[in-house]
């Protein structure tokens, strides 16, 4: 291939680029662009086109007429949504589960990380880490199936109780215990994986601080309180804020899989609501309205959470630039 060789400084991307004309930059960077295009194409088709597709929330959409042929109905679907008791049940369940997990799930990885960090033997620690990270890579179907085999009506616990002459007791179908069950499943699956970021933060704490405190007579617990926890504070705050920004996302599959066993009253969350209401009945626009509602509230929460993060002097998920 015949090619004019450009001046050397035009080849290096880290040197001053602002002065080069667009044509020269294109000639220099076309390969980089070509590498990016396929991924961007998929992103546009499967993210941005559906994002625009949310306009059907303002229509009475039917697949035969398409977006162009379906009648516009303004905010009708949203009015319907807000007067739908099942929607409020789903919203209430979602928010309750988030709040519950904030108290009973969120601190677990922190405690586990501190515990792991205190294990002196490196090999033992790596072994335990390997074990507790693992369930993160199991699918929800698998996790629910395992829980069912251990705690379900025909599971190991019931089997053991029955053989010991007790009345078996099925946790998997009890709506009142459902929130505890899903939190236990989340802890089992993801709390170990969640320790990674805290372990890294713990490793970054200067050990001289501990030594100086110990020399000054600070006990183990005082060191934990005055050195370890302040050292973890930025990470804890960051993850807390991220979690709040994600309050309407409690996960889909876990609830979808167990909704039949405990009933919609306890197990319906926003995502499963959209699924059952739309794909089962063909109310496309209504489902899109529910999805759009969730997406927009999520967007607001993330933006607010980041504002709060910046106020606390933390980075948040995006920087101000």
């Amino acid at each position: 291939m015949l090619r004019k060789s450009p001046p050397a400084d035009a080849l290096t991307s880290s040197a001053g680029t602002g002065r080069l004309p667009l044509r020269a930059r294109l000639r220099r960077d076309w390969q980089l662009l070509a590498m990016t295009v396929p991924a961007v194409g998929l992103l546009i088709v499967f993210h941005y086109v559906p994002t625009l597709g949310n306009v059907i929330a303002f229509q009475d959409y039917s697949p035969y007429d398409g977006i162009t042929g379906s009648p516009w109905v303004g905010f009708y679907n949203f009015q319907w949504l807000l007067s739908d008791p099942e929607f409020w049940t789903a919203l209430r369940n979602t928010v309750t589960i988030t709040a519950f997990q904030l108290v009973f799930y969120f601190p677990v990885p922190i405690a586990l990380a501190i515990l792991l960090d205190s294990v002196l033997s490196r090999r033992l620690r790596l072994f335990i880490q390997g074990v507790v990270y693992m369930p993160h890579f199991f699918s929800w179907v698998l996790v629910v199936a395992l829980f069912q085999q251990i705690l379900g009506g025909a599971g190991l616990l019931a089997q053991t109780l029955r053989q010991a002459g007790h009345e078996p007791w099925n946790v998997m179908t009890n709506p009142d215990a459902f929130i505890v069950l899903v939190t236990a499943q989340s802890v089992w699956k993801d709390a170990g994986w969640g320790t990674i970021i805290f372990l890294a933060a713990l490793a970054a704490i200067n050990t001289n601080l501990y030594e100086a405190a110990a020399v000054d007579g600070a006990s183990r617990w005082r060191r934990l309180w005055h050195i370890t926890l302040p050292g973890l504070r930025p990470v804890i705050l960051l993850l807390l804020i991220l979690r709040l920004g994600d309050a309407l996302n409690v996960g889909f599959e876990q609830f979808f899989l167990q909704r039949d066993a405990v009933g919609a009253e306890a197990a319906e969350v926003l995502d499963t609501f959209v699924y059952w209401r739309t794909l089962m009945t063909g109310a496309w626009s209504y489902g899109a309205a529910a999805g759009l509602f969730k997406g927009l509230v999520g967007l607001i929460l993330i933006v607010v959470a980041n504002k709060v993060a910046h106020r606390f002097g933390e980075q948040g998920i995006y920087k101000r630039s």
């Binding site: 080849l11 590498m35 074990v131 170990g192 999805g291 999520g298 993330i302 933006v303």
Partner: protein, 299 residues
């Protein structure tokens, strides 16, 4: 064994015992259910009957359940589907992600800011289930295996992690290669990738596990249950309790061996879903180093 720093007091016997007990319980809570499931899947009908269900102590062992599963039929096909989707999907995803991550990692290149922004924006807003479903349907991908791959082919999260890693490679190295006349494809292949084996392995694992575990996309997009991936089979036969072997056949013997009990077969399906993850995991686990994961979490 790392030694205790001199300033640290010796732990009390009580404290040490407590810590050991807690850590042991945690490890057992992870390992024991898997042990029980694997053991039951390997047990004969008699052992399962004697145990009254799940087997906790090894008795008679047999591979009948696996023979039944892999003797053709629903599970065999589902394993093939899941394997195919996982292999094709992972190769495609990893390729697209590496290319895009590198393409967006050179400071000052044309359009890299707006394109990167397109990816970052996906963290803030998800389009929602219904429009996503409709676009897949419009493209005619319902009941096509591509519906399990294309919509999730590029994860912005993985792309950002990988890009952050590439950006840490000193620019001078790449610039000197450019001056020597190397194309960007060549630089990526010969310089960048060999320096990024760890991050590539971890991202590859993330994608592979994602495809192997893919459940909900299949619920949405695959109506033909002859095309179901393994996770849907797992749900139908294990979670929903459908029997793979009809009950009246359980008294027969086929091909010289007694049919395995349904419970063992169900547990074997769990094991089949579990094993690929357990096999790859140890090789990648050592790469879960600080760099990759912290970049990952900060996104």
């Amino acid at each position: 064994m790392t030694t205790r720093p001199v300033w640290q007091e010796r732990p009390t016997v009580f404290g040490l015992t407590l810590k050991t007990v807690v850590l042991t319980l945690i490890v057992l809570a992870m390992v024991y259910p898997i042990y029980v499931v694997v053991l039951t899947s390997l047990s004969t009908a008699r052992t399962v009957t004697e145990a009254g269900g799940l087997v906790t102590l090894p008795g008679e062992l047999s591979l009948d359940a696996y023979r039944e599963l892999f003797g053709g039929g629903v599970v065999t096909r589902a394993v093939l589907v899941s394997t195919g989707v996982t292999v094709v999907g992972t190769v495609l995803s990893l390729g697209l992600t590496i290319f895009a991550a590198y393409g967006l990692s050179r400071p000052g290149s044309v359009l890299h800011r707006p394109l990167l922004f397109l990816f970052l924006l996906t963290f803030l807003f998800t389009p929602g289930m219904i429009p996503s479903y409709l676009i897949v349907r419009e493209l005619g991908l319902i009941d096509s295996y591509w519906s399990l791959i294309l919509p999730t082919a590029v994860s912005a999260f993985n792309l950002v992690v990988m890009r952050a890693f590439f950006m840490n490679i000193p620019g001078e190295v790449l610039d000197s290669a450019r001056i020597d006349g190397a194309s960007d494809f060549r630089i990526l292949w010969r310089i960048v990738l060999p320096m990024s084996k760890g991050v590539t392995a971890v991202i590859g694992l993330f994608y592979a596990v994602g495809y192997w575990n893919a459940f909900f996309n299949a619920v949405l997009y695959i109506n033909d249950n002859g095309k179901w991936p393994l996770q849907l089979i797992l749900r139908q036969y294990v979670q929903q309790g459908m029997n793979l072997v009809p009950n009246q056949r359980a008294v027969d013997t086929v091909a010289g061996y007694a049919l395995p009990p349904n419970l063992a077969i169900k547990m074997a399906i769990i094991v089949v879903a579990l094993v690929p993850v357990l096999l790859i995991y140890p090789f990648v686990q050592r790469h879960f180093t600080k760099g990759v994961i912290i970049g990952a979490v900060k996104g």
